[in-house]
Symmetry: C2
Subunit: 260 residues, 2 copies
């Protein structure tokens, strides 16, 4: 295993940039993954590992995970603790990192007319995005739809998703409006989640067929266009002086109702 | 209004420490709050503002909020942009800060036998704690119970709670076990949320009377003692390879079921 001890090594610099830049991830069709469990999960999910980086300590400390990763990886490098710290987004890195090939995700026209989906519009906080992935998988949704630059390969999103985003179907679209039009024409029920108690109580909606439920940005909610295109505006009824939920809490409750 | 331009001013150093140190907050019975909307919300909730700090820009930019705060505050200071940056936990501070008196919270024996509560044990991430407060208020729970150093006055928790933690009843306890014993003896239903599909499906539990539902630490879940003391182990049924929910997503779904 070739050793890398310089933080300025080109491979290391590339890996760091891959973690930082959504546009580079898109252009290269690759993403950067950190953590013994997450990298091993990726391998088990069939994600292609192009390069893997381990500290000497990680090679024995996480050997169960690491052996699995090495067996399925392209080129493996041993890195120094300093390089590990440079690569890591955490204070105490485990010393396990991979550069992975982005998964081929389904297109909008592969959305199942009888499926249950949450669509996230312009979600800003990658941790919220990851948490929604995790809830969506646990609750058995057929997939997630993301628009407006939500990037499941953002390192914080990957961490919060605990591997779920690598296993889920995630449809990424630049035009949520067209996707909703198409879903409507297929007979799916399209829901716009709004924080207004005058909208339809989510508990009263029949979820028998295919459903897409849209959840908006943390600060500004759904766009007017999306609300207009959806067949129904729904609300999680609120009391007290609260005006809305955290986006991932709202998505969790809505996904739960979709599958209830 | 006295001006403070030095980051090393004692009042500023104290305010920073108050934001950083849970033990200082407890000892002083005070907490530090940032943001025009949050500080104004605190005033409207009847929180006592001991000191307030504003930049010159904030005084006009957020005048609606600020006028309200000044009217109800103890001493007010005008601070420079540099001091504002020093005080702030964000990159682009609004320039509005307060030192507030911690609210008198109810004791464990004030828990209503017919009330609905979520209890958080050893929750680690203050953003999760704040998000649960927000969900609990929006869903109309009677209160929140926190143990194991969960501090609602942590700045990240305050930010995520969007003011809800200043309005909610929050019972803080060092001994969740005793509180559960007491709740059991009052005839309340005590639930331990566990990520095991063999536990009782939360949808099948009757929530007619008083209920306390316990949610555990992000990594390790509830302690064995808490699980043992609760009358029933419950689960949000999971599918796929997901092994658990994000703590605040789980709490949102459980609170929703308590109130459904």
């Amino acid at each position: 295993m070739e050793k890398i001890t310089a933080r300025t090594n080109d491979k290391i610099k590339y890996a760091v940039r891959l973690g930082e830049s959504a546009s580079l991830r898109k252009e290269a069709g690759e993403f950067f993954l950190e953590g013994a469990r997450l990298c091993s999960d990726a391998v088990q999910t069939g994600i292609v590992i192009k390069q893997a980086f381990f500290t000497a300590k990680a090679l024995w400390k996480y050997s169960d995970y690491v052996d699995d990763i090495i067996a399925k990886s392209g080129i493996c490098y041993e890195i120094s603790a300093e390089v590990s710290q440079k690569l890591s987004g955490t204070e105490n890195p485990q010393g396990v990192f991979c550069i992975c090939e982005a998964k081929k995700q389904p297109d909008a026209d592969e959305i199942r007319p009888d499926g249950k989906y949450i669509a996230l519009e312009n979600l800003q906080d990658p941790s919220n995005l990851g948490a929604v992935c995790r809830s969506a998988e646990a609750l058995g949704l057929d997939g997630l739809i993301v628009s407006g630059g939500c990037d499941i390969y953002n390192p914080k999103a990957l961490r919060a998703a605990m591997g779920s985003s690598l296993r889920m179907n995630v449809v990424s679209t630049e035009n949520l409006g067209d996707l909703i039009d198409s879903a409507n024409s297929k007979g799916m029920l399209t829901l716009a989640s709004v924080p207004r108690n005058t909208a339809t109580d989510i508990r009263t909606v029949s979820m028998n067929g295919g459903v897409i439920c849209c959840v908006g940005n943390e600060g500004s909610g759904l766009t007017a266009e999306t609300i207009e295109k959806c067949k129904l505006q729904v609300v999680i009824p609120m009391s007290g002086r609260a005006e809305s939920f955290n986006a991932s809490a709202a998505a969790a409750i809505l996904a739960w109702e979709l599958m209830r």
